[in-house]
Symmetry: C2
Subunit: 334 residues, 2 copies
DNA sequence: ATGAAAGCGCTAACAT
DNA sequence: ATGTTAGCGCTTTCAT
């Protein structure tokens, strides 16, 4: 910038004014400066600008993994919405581990950003509680989190209840839950959604068939494929196949679909199937997979609003929002 | 930092030395400073550190869209590898448009990063040629790009040739190409892969059946689903159904799979199907979709090596690398 | 309409 | 082992 100033015969301040389109610069000075800028190929140094401004114009989204379609869809929505508000999105990966997430939210790292949207999969309550809050943070995800943070989550119980009721209404009577968890403290998506599965059974006057919960070590499609294949083999031996499956996520639903195919079971004729997340791709997986629509658009809008108002200095009490949920019915539950 | 220095009764330089773990600080001074740091909750300001250092420790990956599984998988691999090298990855979305990509690679934006890996979908040769090169940039993608850039691409022609040959070897004789392009300048993935499809036919002594190319306005699964459904309906009227489909990408393959299902055609009994990219999810889409494995691991390693050596100041002539390709054979081509 | 001075938080280089 | 000086590139404030 000082080079430009020297060559153009003006002060750096005038260059700054021209480059930033501020008024009070004569047309001819502006022109001359612009010429020199082009000649010298000058470009602002954002790092310096930010040091001075004390803000970065960039928001971070920290997700457990880049390679899960759910987070890809989420990131796309955030990028679009933030772009409209003149902010930039950088996506970081926390690695789905406590360590990764803790390091991803270390203030050292995050001071690069004006605010952070953090998907808290893998962080425990105490870890979140330990986070300093002098940086605007909005939490996403199905964990229970400390009161003092803004938090937007899905309607886990209600969505699962809707999905299970959807199956029961269509006449299914042995509704398995892939990725379900035996009763326990309600601390994550799997637990909450299992509660919804139980609630739907009770609403229908049925005892929740706990033997049809199929727990999994993780919620990858490959894991679901393997675990459900084994569960189906055992159920078949006992002559006790399910007639429907509620999968805790669409990734799991995909694995279940594959396992059912391998077992020679037709969807929906032999077994109905519904997932959770409504990933764009599940409508293209034969025969078209039903899913719980978690209203990601709503989640992204609310999270963005909360973050922006915190960045603007809002000291409102922290909010804890739950998105609506609805059923995207497709052929797999027809 | 100066607050810490004052309270601890030392100079800011000593604080800097302690905080950065540099030697030549007495144990007791170090201890005292660390205590004050904890008391005051001091954290380094990375922006200032970077302004001073002139480098950011962060590399950007610019992808067309966050919500395409291929880029999610790619980003995950880059993040892991760069993490091992002590660098941080931020992913940016260009929006798959010329404008988006140009703004994403504007120097103003990119000066935040030590280097950039840019996926050039949507950029024309001239646009790329206009990029300044005082920042290390490695190009990814199937476009033809100016010589002066490092570039890593897939084996498009060879991969498509392998896929098509794989189908022909298994006895298919009417191999359609979903997302194929009638002969023309070889400027993108679709064109190059169509060339491979032609080459395999010629290798087998067959005339490429140009009427079995099914062009598409974009390569979304939904588009493929619709376009292929229409093409199948027309083909059926003429009694000229294909007995195999090579899909230009796995996203397209997914759409083709759905269209085949809707048309009552079985995979692989009535129609064999193979895609390109080997996304993790296609092995779980019934009956398990074959695909061309583009060796993403190789691509990511090479691109990272190139970028890091440029960042380190290498002035080697620019490299243009082509990854190996192989067939991941699954039930859809059995 | 333009400019000079000061300083954002940090560290390399050079004292002591 | 510790401190002083200078400056990274920019903008805010206060002249002129």
């Amino acid at each position: 910038m000082s080079d430009v100033a020297r060559v153009a015969g003006v002060s750096v301040m005038t260059v700054s004014n021209v480059v930033n389109g501020r008024p009070r610069v004569s047309a001819e000075t502006r022109l001359r400066v612009l010429e020199v800028v082009a000649d010298l190929g000058y470009e602002v140094n954002l790092t310096a600008k930010r040091l001075r401004a004390g803000r970065t114009g960039t928001v971070a989204l920290v997700v457990p993994r880049f390679d899960h379609p759910y987070f890809g869809e989420l990131a796309g929505r955030f990028a679009t919405l933030l772009g409209e508000k003149g902010l930039h999105l950088a996506v970081e990966q926390s690695g789905a581990s406590r360590e990764g997430e803790l390091s991803a939210v270390s203030h050292a790292r995050l001071h690069m950003y004006d605010g952070v949207i953090l998907s808290v999969v893998g962080l425990h309550y105490d870890d979140v509680d330990r986070l300093r809050t002098d940086l605007p943070i909005v939490l996403l995800g199905e964990q229970v989190v400390p009161e003092r943070f803004d938090h937007v989550m899905m309607a886990n119980v209600e969505g699962a209840r809707l999905a299970t009721a959807h199956l029961l209404e269509r006449g299914s009577r042995r509704v398995a839950m892939a990725g379900g968890t035996p009763s326990g403290p309600s601390t994550g998506a799997s637990e909450l959604r299992s509660e919804g599965w139980r609630a739907a059974h009770r609403d229908a006057g049925l005892e929740p068939p706990e033997d049809l919960l199929v727990p999994m070590p993780d919620l990858e499609a490959a894991t679901a494929h393997r675990v459900v294949a084994e569960a189906l083999a055992r159920a078949r031996e006992r002559g006790a196949l399910p007639d429907a499956v509620f999968a805790v996520t669409d990734q799991v639903s995909l694995g279940v679909r594959a396992a059912l195919h391998d077992a020679g079971l037709r969807v929906p004729q032999d077994v109905r199937l519904i997932g959770f997340d409504d990933l764009g791709l599940v409508q293209h997986v034969p025969p078209g997979l039903s899913s719980v629509d978690p209203h990601n658009g709503w989640i992204v809008e609310r999270a963005t609003d909360l973050l922006l108002s915190r960045i603007a200095g809002s000291t409102e009490p922290p909010q804890h929002l739950v998105a609506p949920a609805s059923i995207a019915a497709r052929a797999s539950t027809a």
